[in-house]
């Protein structure tokens, strides 16, 4: 069947279906595909006269600052490792919480526990940054307690060591409630018959979780991980910027691509270089998600994204 002929027939046969999907398609075309033209900025020397297409084409010149600093490897490593930690620890914690919540008797406690867990999700990072500062600064909560106990205060803001844990902790803490809801919804959709059958067979609660809940949650888990993988090179700018700010003492352990780019370019604003950095992140994110998906497709086709 020739392509065009087939497409027309397909269109006329499933008119209603295509009509229903149209808004989504238009949304993505308008907000995701058309703006992609902006990628071209990465290869031009921006000037106000020319705008996007009138500016001079300069090839890969804008990417030079990323590679020349010699920091790109360290930055990429930090970004990827932090995101992996957020991803894995976050998802595991969410899964565990969801299972606990689903097993809890008593509706009131369950609901209120869920709400309390969800609340941090609505806090802005600016606020969380202020919490962190007041916890760990020279006169902060932690150091005051240490002094009261007769111990030496600890200079958090000039030591790099504790920040890995602080940052991961706050990221996981903030996203916990949101992710838990997703897993909880997935658990709710598991049919009660399965548990009933298991109970009749004499399975205790841990066996039920291990043999029924966990295997059935696997697709959700893999799906969420896959979704997040595409953004693994995109750091959570808000998180790092608000918590670390402009404290150079901590950069070795806490600098990610996004904060580096922000810092390099705030002094000499350059739209071309900014786009170049964004493109670098997106490009490698794309490669990453494509290859992971291919691997999954080869091994367990059921779980692949597309």
């Amino acid at each position: 069947m020739t392509g065009k002929h087939g497409l027309m027939r397909e269109l006329s046969r499933n008119k209603t279906m295509f009509l229903m999907i149209a808004p989504t398609l238009i949304f993505f075309i308008v907000f995701s595909y058309v703006p992609m033209v902006g990628i071209y900025y990465a290869f031009t020397k921006f000037d106000f006269e020319g705008g996007l297409f009138g500016s001079e084409f300069i090839g890969f010149e804008n990417f030079r600052f990323l590679f020349e600093s010699g920091l790109l490897w360290n930055l990429t490593k930090n970004t990827v490792l932090y995101n992996l930690a957020f991803l894995i620890i976050g998802n595991v914690m969410q899964l565990v919480c969801a299972i606990f919540l689903s097993q809890l008797p008593g509706k009131l406690f369950k609901k209120s526990a869920q709400s309390v867990m969800f609340l941090p999700y609505f806090l802005s990072w600016v606020l969380v940054g202020a919490f962190v500062f007041n916890l760990f600064s020279d006169l902060g909560v932690v150091n005051t307690v240490l002094k009261q106990l007769g111990m030496q205060p600890y200079d958090f803001y000039i030591q790099t060591a504790p920040w890995k844990y602080i940052i991961v902790f706050f990221s996981v803490w903030k996203g916990l409630g949101y992710g838990t809801v997703i897993y909880l919804a997935a658990i709710m959709s598991i049919s009660d018959e399965l548990y009933e059958a298991a109970r009749i067979d004499g399975a205790n609660i841990f066996q039920q979780i291990r043999r029924i809940t966990l295997p059935l949650l696997k697709p959700t888990f893999i799906l969420l991980i896959l979704f997040s993988l595409g953004g693994i090179l995109k750091g959570q700018f808000d998180l790092f910027y608000q918590i670390i700010g402009s404290n150079g003492m901590l950069y070795d352990a806490t600098d990610i691509i996004d904060t580096y780019v922000f810092r390099s370019l705030t002094v000499n604003f350059d739209i071309g270089m900014g786009t170049a950095a964004g493109l670098y992140q997106s490009f490698f994110g794309f490669i990453l998600i494509m290859s992971v998906n291919t691997i999954i497709k080869k091994t367990r086709e059921d779980y692949a994204l597309f």
Partner: protein, 530 residues
């Protein structure tokens, strides 16, 4: 695992993620992703049409327009009321209204640049040398006003001195209207004068006397003198003490005012080494906190609560600070020391230290200019937008040149002082002094007049185009190694100084230095400066 099961979980996940995406979509300001409309053609067409229109209709018939204006900083609590009053007058006189927007001080530079690059329709925006006026004008961000000014802002065209117009001329075009208010804004600091007297400390003359003060405050008053964010406080003391004249950034500069062509990498100098060693001892003695780089609170806020004693200010912002302390009746006496006394000269601000410009994207540049002309020269407009509503935010003083803040019967805690960033349209004859304001300001002006020397560093124009990759790397090194070193936060000064210098070299500082030297010399040759 059944297919149904899989679909159900997929559905749930997708719904959640879509809602998340939709929520984020609104503020996705990923710099390069927004396609900028090609507004160049539109703007020039507009200009032509307008000239024709004005010639044909004279000044009588003006179409109703709404103008979008942008200022830096934050809006006042009563901003809407003030603008409504303003628009009432404006729609009668010029059949126009303005919409006054603010960038807020938080990240203003990024927002300012984005406003200009994104091609948003803006009819008037604050412009100044410290927000890259020269660079942006050369890059073509603003509209050339040379031909519009005589026609649409005749009063302003006449009362701005000719040399001021010349100073904002870039490549033959006039891209901004500078403010008309010669000022001196050297660095200095406010301090607790009452404590200085109480502790029997000498008047300030040099760094040693400042150190003695900081030390006494720390050891006897048990107060951290530079509380909160410390970097700017220390950096400004450093560069004025050694008379470094930074050009373009904190890292490169002339070694003194008298040797403008001796341009060096400041961290490579012996003075820098001496200074950071001294700063290490200051940091160890606790003149500022270990978290000084992460703190987001201004040192001045701690003075107000009695927990700080040192805050860098220029004379007029020191005046504002002292007036606030007086108005709030805080029990402390604040003094001010200008660093100009170290080397006995002061540089007046450039005319374009504050000004207003029209971005290329403007649809109504001529009307916007007419409004600016009114605002600068008609005192009713000027007073309203600069000082707020009479009777609420201020009241008339004994003569025409003074005002009283707060107005009688108004509580400053409920109606705070109206102090938006109105600097761009300042016109000296219309400006008013505040009754009971800090007298030191006038005294300083007298002190500065005889020792004034022209600014030969400010107008050196640099876009860093040939070295922008190196500059980005240098900025990075400066942030990561330079700032902690300046605040003496590293454990081993010698080692970190060596690291800093090596990293700067690796980042390509020499290339940036060459570039700055070339541009500076070009400017000096042109102006005949040796």
């Amino acid at each position: 695992m059944s297919m149904k099961q899989k679909r159900a979980s997929l559905f749930v996940v997708l719904t959640m993620l879509t809602s998340l995406l939709a929520a984020c979509g609104g503020n996705n300001n990923n710099g390069g992703n927004a396609p900028a409309p090609a507004n160049d053609g539109a703007a020039s067409n507009n200009g032509a049409a307008v000239n024709g229109e004005a010639a044909a209709d004279g000044e009588k018939k003006l179409e109703k327009v709404e103008l979008t204006w942008y200022l830096l900083g934050d809006a006042h609590k009563d901003q809407d009321k003030v603008v409504a009053e303003f628009n009432k007058m404006l729609s009668k006189d010029l059949n126009a209204t303005i919409k006054l927007n603010f960038t807020t001080w938080n990240d203003w530079q990024t927002k300012y640049n984005l406003l200009l690059t994104s091609g948003e329709k803006v009819d008037m925006i604050f412009a100044s040398s410290w927000s890259d006026y020269y660079k942006l004008a050369k890059q073509g961000a603003f509209l050339d006003l040379k031909d519009l000014l005589p026609q649409y802002a005749p009063t302003t065209w006449g009362n701005v001195p000719k040399q001021d117009w010349e100073s904002v001329t870039v490549a033959g075009g006039i891209y901004a209207v500078p403010n008309t208010n010669a000022e001196y804004t050297p660095d200095g600091f406010v301090y607790r004068e009452d404590w200085r007297k109480e502790l029997n400390l000498p008047e300030f003359t040099d760094v040693n006397s400042i150190e003695a003060y900081l030390d006494a405050v720390k050891t006897q008053k048990k107060v951290t003198p530079i509380n909160g964010a410390a970097y700017e406080n220390v950096q400004r003391l450093f560069r004025t003490w050694y008379d470094f004249q930074p050009i373009g950034s904190d890292v490169i500069g002339a070694t003194s005012y008298d040797a403008p062509r001796d341009i060096q990498v400041i961290p490579f100098t012996a003075q820098f080494e001496e200074w950071v060693k001294r700063m290490k001892t200051w940091a160890d003695k606790g003149y500022w906190n270990k978290n000084a780089l992460s703190s987001k609170q201004e040192a001045g806020d701690f003075i107000k609560t009695g927990q700080g004693a040192y805050y860098w200010r220029n004379p007029s912002s020191a005046g504002g600070f002292i007036n606030e302390i007086t108005a709030k009746q805080l029990k402390m006496e604040i003094g001010y020391f200008p660093f100009t006394r170290f080397h006995n000269y002061v540089i007046p601000t450039l005319p374009i230290a504050n000004g207003m410009a029209i971005p290329k994207s403007s649809k109504n540049p001529e009307r916007s200019l007419m409004v600016l002309d009114k605002l600068r020269n008609d005192s009713a407009y000027f007073n309203l937008l600069t000082y707020g509503i009479e009777g609420t935010h201020w009241a008339k003083g004994e003569d025409d040149k003074t005002i009283v803040i707060p107005a009688p019967g108004v509580d400053l805690n409920k109606t705070p002082r109206y102090d938006i960033a109105s600097w761009g349209w300042r016109y000296e004859p219309n400006m008013k002094g505040e009754k009971g304001g800090w007298a030191g300001l006038d005294k300083l002006k007298e002190e500065f007049k005889p020792i004034s020397k022209p600014d030969i560093f400010g107008p050196i124009y640099m876009d860093y185009e040939p070295v922008k990759a190196e500059l980005a790397a240098v900025n990075q090194v400066f942030e990561q190694y330079g700032k902690p070193l300046m605040l003496g936060l590293t454990s081993n000064v010698d080692a970190s100084l060596m690291t800093y210098r090596d990293k700067l070299k690796a980042a390509g500082i020499e290339k940036v230095l060459e570039y700055v030297k070339t541009e500076a010399n070009k400017y000096y040759d042109e102006k005949g400066i040796q």
